[in-house]
Symmetry: C2
Subunit: 229 residues, 2 copies
């Protein structure tokens, strides 16, 4: 395990300390989240945690959790006690970009139902201003996606159709993704609102004002970021 | 032809007067729009209009237009000179509800690209306050639609899953529709913004501040409503 992997695992285990017996937990997706899911399965197997149920944000996380014997339920509008997930970027106010994995809509649906949401990741994901390193993934309906692209250009973003093996990447919901590069600093709350209201847009990867805490693996330590720190 | 049908046709023909040669026209869907499309085809055939191209909001309208020899193009972000469509409800400010036909996302995508947008319909569709007669159709992703339904309930709407032949109705984009009944009067602009920002929502049927004019067939006449009248 590289140092970075080891630190990502430590960040995930920090998040795991928030889980208590009888909780409904939202499981994120990606390289850091998988350490969380593994740790959760271990604690359940050992009996350190009891009566946990979970909701996954992707097929991959669901499969991993089922393999570990974590009882899974469907998202039907329950309040989720705790959700954890990685991110592509996080700023000092815990505003984040997510969705480079392509599951932004499902992730936002699950995590917006959580009473407590924890971001986990490594220091390569921290930025001063949203958009410094990563584009904002925007999920759009396939119909007339070029018209939507033009609308996103008019918002002063550079929207690039995401490809996979030379063909447009298709989300779980059957849509395309336009990765929208911006020039920070931008007023991201108003950008988020405008993106949501743009016809053709299904969801966007700005996760603003959603997380309460972030555990960030650095070269030497686990950095704890809280909303008001 | 019943009196109402005859009046709907008259409203459609009023809208047709706005069409000039060389225009790109957005074609709506439904019982009034079909009179417009028929009239447009006739004027083209007669040579009263030349060099028209059109973009359809549904397969049905596209098929009708192609059958009449109207040249069709794809929506790729062009500016549309004129769009016409029916509505399910329209208030005195020309704010409308659309989507009871199920094509709200495509309709909003086309009509939001139009420089001039005309609503056509009959007087059974006029209301003082949006939501008086019709629910607001909200297109949602299939995944965890019950969670989205709960979020829409929290906005003080009564969201009912649209069925067809006993099964959930599926839109052209592969999504479900929740018909959201409201108790008017509501502040519809802020409701529209909140609906757009709700995770799981693809599009909603509030078409606010989009139309410039409406031709409404009454029992006796064609009522002309303009934005500032």
């Amino acid at each position: 395990m590289t140092d970075l992997e080891s630190l990502k695992k430590q960040a995930a285990l920090k998040a795991l300390e928030h889980v208590q017996s009888n909780m409904l937990v939202g499981l994120g997706t990606g390289s850091t989240a998988k350490y969380f899911i593994a740790g959760l399965g271990e604690k359940l197997a050992k009996g350190d945690l009891k009566n946990i149920s979970a909701i996954a944000t992707s097929k991959a996380s669901e499969d991993q959790a089922i393999g570990l014997g974590i009882p899974m339920v469907e998202l039907e509008g329950q309040s989720i006690d705790l959700a954890i997930d990685g991110m592509d970027e996080v700023d000092p106010h815990l505003n984040a970009i997510k969705g480079l994995g392509g599951a932004l809509t499902r992730e936002k649906m699950v995590e917006s139902c959580a009473r407590f949401f924890i971001l986990i990741g490594d220091e390569t994901k921290t930025v001063q201003n949203i958009g410094e390193k990563a584009p904002i993934p925007v999920e759009v309906v396939q119909f007339a996606w070029k018209a939507t692209q033009k609308k996103l250009e008019a918002l002063d973003t550079r929207p690039v159709l995401r490809l996979k093996d030379g063909k447009p990447f298709v989300t779980d919901n059957g849509n395309f993704i336009l990765d929208c590069h911006i020039r920070p600093p931008r007023e991201v709350f108003s950008l988020a609102q405008t993106l949501s209201a743009t016809p053709g847009v299904v969801e966007h990867g700005l996760f603003l004002d959603m997380a309460q805490i972030a555990y960030i693996a650095t070269q030497t330590d686990i950095l704890v970021m809280t909303k008001d720190s």
